[in-house]
Amino acid sequence: MNNHYTVLGLYKKMETTVNATPQIREAFNLKDGEIEVLTSAAYPDEILIEDKTLMYQVNKRQFLFPFLLGIVGLAIGILLAGGTGWIMNLDVGGKPPFALPPTGIITYEFTLLFAVIGSVISLLIYGGLPNWTERAYDPDITDGSLGILIKVNSNEEQNKAADMMANLGAYKVKKGKNDF
C-alpha cells in the first residue's frame, strides 16, 4: 500500500473555509473522498464542499441496508410467528396454527428491528466508522473550528498544501502521514 500524506488546516470562519476548499481541490486535483471538511456540527449537504460521490452514490446506497435487512426481518417474523406455530400444531384456545394477526404483529416488529439494525450498519459502513486508529484531527474542531483535510501522495505536495492552506486563512495547519 502506498504511503500518503495528509494536511489538516483549521479555519475559524465558514466563509474562509468555503472559499478555500475549491482552490485547494483544484490545486492538487483531489477526487471525492480525498478531501474532507471537518466540522463540529452538521452543515446541510453541499454547503461546505461539493461531493458528488456522496450525493449520488453513498446517500442513495445508504438505504439499501435497512431495506434488505427489513426484508430479512420480515421473513424471520413470518417464520417465527407463523412458521413455528404451524409446525407446532398445538391447539391453543381454538386459534388456527397459522394465525394471521399475531404473525402480522411479530412480522411488523421484526421488520422494523432489522431495518433499524440495517440503518446502523449502513451508518457505520458508509461513515467509515468505527475507526479507532490515530487519525488526522484536532480537538479544536469540536470547539467550533472548521478543518480542511486532504490526502496527497508526496511530501512535496504536503508542504505545498500546508502553505496554501495557511495562505487561505487557516490559523493552524497540521501535517501527518498515513492518517487520513
Binding site: 391447539d91 391453543v92 384456545g93 381454538g94 386459534k95 388456527p96
Partner: protein, 241 residues
C-alpha cells in the same frame, strides 16, 4: 363450533355435568379433590391474603333477604373449554387443548406469568405462591400419580387426568373401549348426592351425553363463546307454595 377444523376426530371427549338441583354444597368433592391431586393446604396466613387452592370450589350465592332468602351452590372447576381463553395467551404453550377435549396444564413449562389466570372468566386457575408444604408424615399420603407443583406455576383441575389415563389403560388391557362410568374423577366419585357425572360426550349413549343434551343443560358464561366441557343442569323452580 370451531372456525378451523384442523383437529382430528377423536374417540373421546371428556365432559362433566353438574346437577345444580342435586348439589347440597356439602364439600365432599372439594376435599376429595385435595386428597387426590396433592393440593397443598395453604394455611391461615395465605388464606388471610385471600389465596386459596381449591381446584374445585363450591361457589355460594345468596338471593333475597330474610325470610325469603335463597342460598345457591355452584360447584366451579376448570370448565375445560373447547376454545379456552387461557390457552392462547400462554407465552410458552404451558396450557393447551389435548385431543380429548381436555385443557391441559403442563407444569414443567410454566414460567408463571399468570396471564392464563387473568383470562379465565371462571377464575378457576390457581397459582403456587409458595412451594407446597408437605411435611414429614403428610408425605405418606401423596398420590404417586400426580406430580407436585413447585412455587411459581399455575395449576387447575385436570378432570383427574391420571384416572382417565388409568381408565384407558385398563380398558386397553382388556382390549375394549372405555365404558361409561369406568372413569370417574375424584369429585364425581365421591359426590354423595350424585350431582356430578363424568363421561365421554362423544358417546351418545353415555349418561353425561344424555344429560348434557337435556333441556336443563346450560354452560356458564355461554355468551363468552368458550364452549365449556362442563355443563350445568339448571335447578328446577319448585312451586311449593
Amino acid at each position: 363450533m370451531k372456525s378451523f377444523n384442523y383437529k382430528k376426530h377423536n374417540d373421546y371427549k371428556w365432559a362433566m355435568t353438574v346437577d345444580l338441583d342435586r348439589c347440597d354444597g356439602c364439600g365432599a368433592c372439594v376435599v376429595a379433590c385435595q386428597a387426590e391431586n396433592n393440593i397443598p393446604s395453604l394455611g391461615v396466613e395465605q388464606t388471610q391474603e385471600g389465596r386459596n387452592m381449591l381446584w374445585l370450589r363450591i361457589e355460594r350465592y345468596i338471593e333475597g333477604s330474610y325470610p325469603d332468602v335463597k342460598v345457591r351452590f355452584l360447584p366451579m372447576m376448570c370448565q375445560h373449554c373447547d376454545t379456552a381463553p387461557c390457552e392462547s395467551v400462554c407465552p410458552v404453550y404451558a396450557t393447551y387443548q389435548n385431543n380429548e377435549g381436555l385443557n391441559v396444564q403442563v407444569y414443567n413449562r410454566c414460567v408463571g406469568t399468570r396471564f392464563c389466570g387473568n383470562n379465565c372468566p371462571y377464575s378457576v386457575r390457581y397459582f403456587n405462591w409458595y412451594d407446597p408444604d408437605f411435611e414429614g408424615k403428610e408425605k405418606n399420603q401423596l398420590n404417586p400419580d400426580v406430580s407436585l407443583r413447585e412455587k411459581g406455576i399455575m395449576e387447575k383441575c385436570t378432570f383427574c387426568m391420571q384416572r382417565i389415563r388409568r381408565g384407558k389403560d385398563n380398558a386397553a388391557d382388556e382390549g375394549r373401549e372405555v365404558h361409561d362410568g369406568d372413569i370417574k374423577p375424584a369429585c364425581v366419585q365421591t359426590c354423595p348426592t350424585g350431582a356430578l357425572e363424568f363421561g365421554n360426550i362423544n358417546d351418545h349413549h353415555s349418561r353425561v351425553s344424555k344429560l348434557a343434551h337435556s333441556g336443563r343443560a346450560i354452560s356458564l358464561f355461554e355468551e363468552k363463546g368458550t364452549h365449556p366441557s362442563v355443563k350445568y343442569l339448571k335447578g328446577g323452580t319448585a312451586d311449593v307454595f
